[in-house]
Assembly symmetry: C2
Homo-oligomer: 299 residues x 2
Amino acid sequence: MSVLIVGSTALDSIKTPKAENPRLLGGSASHAAVAASFFSPVNLVGIVGHDFPRRYLQLYSRHGIDLAGLQVVQGKTFHWSGEYEANMNNRRTLLTELGVFEHFTPTLPEAYKHAPFVLLANIAPGLQLHVLKQMRRPRFVAADTMDLWLNVALPDLLRLIKRLDAFVLNDSEAHQLTEEDNLPGALHKIHRMGPRYVIIKKGSHGSVLSGPRGLFLCPAYPLRRVVDPTGAGDSFAGAMMGYLAAANGPVERHIRRAIIYGTVVASFCCEGFGLKCTDRLTRQRIENRVAELEALTRF
Amino acid sequence: MSVLIVGSTALDSIKTPKAENPRLLGGSASHAAVAASFFSPVNLVGIVGHDFPRRYLQLYSRHGIDLAGLQVVQGKTFHWSGEYEANMNNRRTLLTELGVFEHFTPTLPEAYKHAPFVLLANIAPGLQLHVLKQMRRPRFVAADTMDLWLNVALPDLLRLIKRLDAFVLNDSEAHQLTEEDNLPGALHKIHRMGPRYVIIKKGSHGSVLSGPRGLFLCPAYPLRRVVDPTGAGDSFAGAMMGYLAAANGPVERHIRRAIIYGTVVASFCCEGFGLKCTDRLTRQRIENRVAELEALTRF
């Protein structure tokens, strides 16, 4: 089955202590879509300007991503610029030029409205809600978010969370949202807001899934060298949803492995700037690392 | 087989936002010895003053801990007092009264010198070295440490590390020791200092073992409520060594499970002040939580 992915499509200029990379393909939907494409067909909804490089459109197409929902309009593509500190954990935004994104209204092509699996990658929760309203009885809806929306659009975000099957967020966001330091406590409170599944990402400390059958503790893949973590969370959610869309049978049966695949694709994402490493992935390399992760956790 | 445990035996006064508990049984060797006692016979080496409550000696004995190596001398028992912040991660020392500990020289009873498994729980690395010099060909020696010794006794610590089979430390100590932010990088550097096994504790994020067969990623047991984390790391190391001493065959075959048992006993330790919860444990309750941890990580 196919997965519908809605989010930001952007140009990212990323600075680390070791290198500077201008105008890479970025955005939550770009990372999520390419990550999902290794598992299932992807329909992408986003917006770019006329300055969007043709080679990035070709990259999407090379991964079989359907672009009927990608609006190409007059104006400049959303441009984000950020800088990482040496430990690769602290990031600071240098520049945000919204461009055509400022007036983005995600409108779904008719065929997309019946998608069974929907990933609302990180954008304003008002836009995520707008997408949900256009959907016809999707089977499984997941959404990601970021701290910005907790600060400036909390009412919309709470309305969204109520309608989700799965909510993906990172640990600091979970603490901010629930005012709970304790992870099981935070999970408990988020479930009460609506979603059956809550997935908390902890960066290099892995992730935790909470669902009807309790918790699943998922480690991160140990990386010797992190080149650029931008998009790792989006890749995680994208690969997870791609895997779920491709699997037969109930979500409950597959979601733990889906999170493992998300973890693995996210680890590759961190090994190159922007989408460089993810773009070159093969299903076989993903499978090899999944097997490695299994061996690293067996006792 | 029995395990020899050397370290501090103390009285701990512990303050948290919710409670204040004066003069609990504490110290690295106390926590480690009780944790190890659920798996194998324990020989304890430490020092206490004449003010040391008889009920604490009875507690050791109830767990079958041999006290031939516990010096009871004129003076006051080592007293530590600390305060935790609401998140239970940040701790500040309010008071350290060394008492009889100031002139402690760990002298092994003759029978202890042949112990096959030795845990040098956290004390000054000079004392840990002094114990090692008295040993006759131990089969497996592990040591724990703390940030203080990195700051004030680094040369001794480096001499000690060189002679260990396993070195146990926490992630911030590993970063301080190696100047590596990256965990696999830090592990690599610590192996080059000597030990075949390096175990990095990450608190609520679990632990990582690095050994001849690569890494083992061990999650923490998710606790809904942390009452007092004092001694969790000591319990971890103690239970791990107790499990290894009880197991037949090569260490390599058992060390992953040993770390799981260490994780589980440490989780119980956090659920009560001082040794309160650990004291009341049974092997069956430990086994139940090990099975639970297995279910939480299976995919």
